[in-house]
Symmetry: D2
Subunit: 336 residues, 4 copies
């Protein structure tokens, strides 16, 4: 997903979306082990998660039944909303994080934490207001509360995967943990948006994705010197589709796999090191280098070129042939 | 361009690119008035600008000759690089901004200023280093030098166009000036990237686009509550193509016009107000509202729904039919 | 739709799909006139038509209820399939075209007739077999039964619309009637395919679209000399999406309108005359001409070029700059 | 290329385009073997072939020089057009196929033969006229001259590759030869078109691709029952880009490889048998079957469904959720 540069509607790092197929796959594995003939989930009938869980189950275990109690009419009547459910849990002493004090929904995993519903339902409400500085800060501080001193981080990539942070080789899990800590400290990766759910309505969410944001940013910087122009433009034109598939829950679909093949092929030279600077909510690039860099300053330079890689005379022909169809059309249309 | 959400390679706000067709159009107008049979430009044979100027001329005045002295072999020998040209200008007392002290190229207009070449040609060089805090700060300060207090701005949009800032109706020029000032003060819209030139090589650039960055951000926020999901996803999938056309210089091309028709149609309900918060390099959303908002919290809510707009039973069928092809494939493949 | 070049899955001329929104719009108009609070349709719960009718109603009259009796569980029990329904109609003396003799579903309108279900459900069954030469020949003969003599037809286009057949100015209705007659006589526009329904399953259909096939073919020929290359390639890349929207029933959707704007812009010079030859199932081109043709044989010629429109030296530079990124990558990768 | 369904501008089977990279690769191999420092080709400066040869050389042997004599100004003056070249060859007794009698250019390989230039340069000229029945019939007859009796052919596919014809296992070469013979006999795969060259102008060509046309047709039929809907629609939206790459000569480019990965992934279940009927220029389907068919008549049937794979009640929810955004928009806009 990082290799695809997938960001839903240009804002959302897909933190919850990408987790659901994994959870559902594990549910299926356990169901198989236990000889169960059904799996269940607690998602409501209004959100994206029900779709993500159930599409994954359909693809991996088409014979398993899926039970979604809270979408069931009977239980919907007993618990028409989150308020009634919270009360019920309290009465039955079932521990839940949502409360009167934090009247919104939360979902957390390695990649992010999301907040939605409750007071967030008013899109004019400023979730960055001082009074919320304790509310939406599970994984990161507000930029205003971040250190006054910037911090530099280097990330090494190998074939599009981050393999080391600050020179230290790390597992994917280690990379995420290290970047989450750094990003959280400097208040980066905070998103507040109104997004389009797959089930048809718009919805407002607040997200913290500190490490994921750094990873996305650094990965694109790595690509900028190692990826071919046409491959990048092609891949980028498919990002909205890829992101949509992840967001909608079609991770285990043949079309996601087809796109993934293209993405993987695009990453085979995305290798090198990126240096970023974190400062009060900002991720800034401070350098990129690669043993397979396609950036050659001797070609690009505006100074005298010691190599013969680029002959400026060629530009004349390049432009003229690219202009030919425009000229012909201009003449035909003027005549007319 | 703002309506299209066009950002080249996800980073560059196209500040120079968009200016070239305008300059070339004006050159053509003046050439016509003066009965000239040629126009000239001073761009080198290595950059994008020559293409942008000449494609525009081809489309608007296919009969006009274009003279590009610095691409001419004769002059290239006399001035193989920028160094020789700067010396020549000094000797002839021709005032130019580039100098030994600022050994890089600059290009400025209402939308942005760009820096490239010279010391920027090393992609590992950190252009954000303290020692450059006087160098790349024509239109904006570095985030570190921005005020410690956030500032809020409201922008009103009408059919995708920003028409007022902080409640004051402004012309497009007025909007740009107001946002440039605000953005510059808070250090937003600073970009450092390696990009792919149309003539085939990669190139490193540093850009300041303070107002443009705010405009892009706020416009997308406005769209988030007023634009249909499918329109947004379709438009977004065409952004790489549209951005490429602007960057390459095909502003006056039939394919840009075709895309523009789609973009314009997509904007007819992008009307309302966005509130953003500027703080040390960050542009954050602090609210969005619209008289034609498609966001309806009563539908999206996780609480009891007073309307009957959404029946959760419908989700069951929605998911099942979307899962059908996945189930059939899973069964066929397993059998096999 | 013709201007968009829309053919679903490269085979289906969308004859039924395009008719449904029109029918539904008329239903809505009548419902309004009669102060009805609901509309009804007889489509089953398995096909595309229910979706097309109901999405149209949703877009045009979101408050109107839709009743779909045959999708209703009660009636599904009474009439589990077409067989039971045919019997019922017979008993009640309700005239229907389907019968024991023609055990398949039919749908006919100005643009086409479709056949599906019944004996067609076996995809290995050859619907072109002699024994069916009376069955699937409502609007056209089988190629084998068409005249032995070819027939020529000229079609005039104006901004992408067919406006005359064989030199005679005709209304859109007149064009369709004339081309249906000609195409039907020569057995063109016959399609046999397995397609993907929106509701998730594959389905086999046989279609006769004699006039529509000619129109599509001739229109593309007209475009071939009047449409810019980049516009054509861009438009063509959007055909699958556009066709999908029509097939799925999203005619009255904002994304179809956005695409339509692009398509309309692309057609402004699609003007001229195309001559086609019809012969035993074939539509062949026999000539195209246009007052705004972009085809200039003096530029394209392999003979000496009297004009100076094209300088072959330019090709060298054109190729070299297009090759630059390939060369750089080859060198970097080889070194590595 | 067949797996990609690549047809340039919806008409051209890319017979010449696909051959050029192969020829150029072989040239490079021989140049390496002979320690040559340059390769040469005889293409003119106006066509696509020069680009295809030279881009291939750039990608495979960036250090090799390319010599293109007929694009060289010196030789252009000696031989301004094909006429002068034909005369020269005659004088020097160099055998060439072009002549006064066949005043057009020809290019032939296993996949096709192309004709362009000369008398074909008038796009109104009917290349199907009786008088040309000996001219453009190297690989196929005109439909009018084909047998009066249809002929049936079965083609077996394995993972998207044709592996047998009429039940007989064949190599790829064997498949092409067998289908060329069959297709040629029945006059299929004949194309007459005006196409857009990469160097900027339009050009008219006539092509015979008998076997290739059958292969394309049969392959799509095979896909129709074995390929997932979303994979097909995604792949189809990329066909214009893929075709463009092949036509322009970017076979050995990273973006073609990226697309190829997607195409390959899409083919892993395209296995089975297609039966086609050839008759006087027509390729018609007469059956398709597959051990991994995704077409399940018991789900698609309009008759009573013995399985429980599809519950018609689900359609109600499916449609309602798909209609939600249309309804919300309709209400907001009406209110406004």
């Amino acid at each position: 997903m990082i290799q695809a540069g997938a960001i839903y509607e240009n804002q959302y790092f897909l933190g919850t979306s990408i987790a659901r197929p994994l959870i559902a796959r594990r549910m299926v594995e356990i169901a198989r082990k236990e000889n169960a003939d059904a799996i269940a989930h607690g998602a409501t009938g209004k959100g994206n998660d029900q779709v993500r869980f159930e599409l994954t189950a359909a693809a991996l275990a088409p014979d398993l039944q899926v039970i979604a109690p809270w979408r069931d009419e009977r239980f919907r009547k007993a618990f028409p909303g989150r308020q009634q459910m919270i009360k019920y849990c309290k009465r039955r002493e079932i521990p839940v994080q949502a409360s009167a004090k934090k009247p919104f929904s939360m979902d957390r995993n390695l990649l992010h934490i999301s907040y939605e519903a409750g007071i967030l339902e008013d899109p004019w409400m400023d979730a960055g207001n001082k009074k919320y500085h304790g509310s939406f800060t599970t994984l990161s501080v507000f930029p205003e509360d971040a250190p006054n001193k910037p911090e530099f981080v280097t990330i090494d990539f190998k074939k599009g995967n981050a393999v080391a942070v600050n020179g230290k080789a790390l597992s994917p899990l280690g990379v995420m943990k290290a970047l989450n800590k750094l990003g959280g400290k400097h208040g980066v990766g905070r998103v507040d948006m109104v997004e389009n759910r797959y089930v048809g309505m718009k919805s407002r969410g607040v997200y913290e994705t500190p490490g994921g944001a750094i990873l996305h940013f650094a990965h694109r910087q790595m690509e900028s010197i190692t990826m071919d122009r046409e491959v990048m433009h092609l891949r980028d034109s498919l990002v909205p589709k890829y992101s949509e598939l992840v967001y909608y829950g079609f991770w285990y679909s043949p079309e996601r796999l087809a796109l993934q093949s293209l993405v993987e092929e695009s990453q085979k030279n995305v290798t090198g090191t990126v240096r970023v600077k974190l400062y009060k909510g900002n991720i800034m690039v401070a350098g990129r280098k690669s043993p397979v860099s396609l950036y050659n300053p001797r070609i690009a330079t505006m100074e005298a070129d010691p190599t013969k890689a680029y002959n400026q005379d060629d530009a004349t022909g390049f432009i003229r042939l690219n202009a030919l169809r425009l000229k012909v059309a201009a003449k035909v249309q003027r005549k007319k």
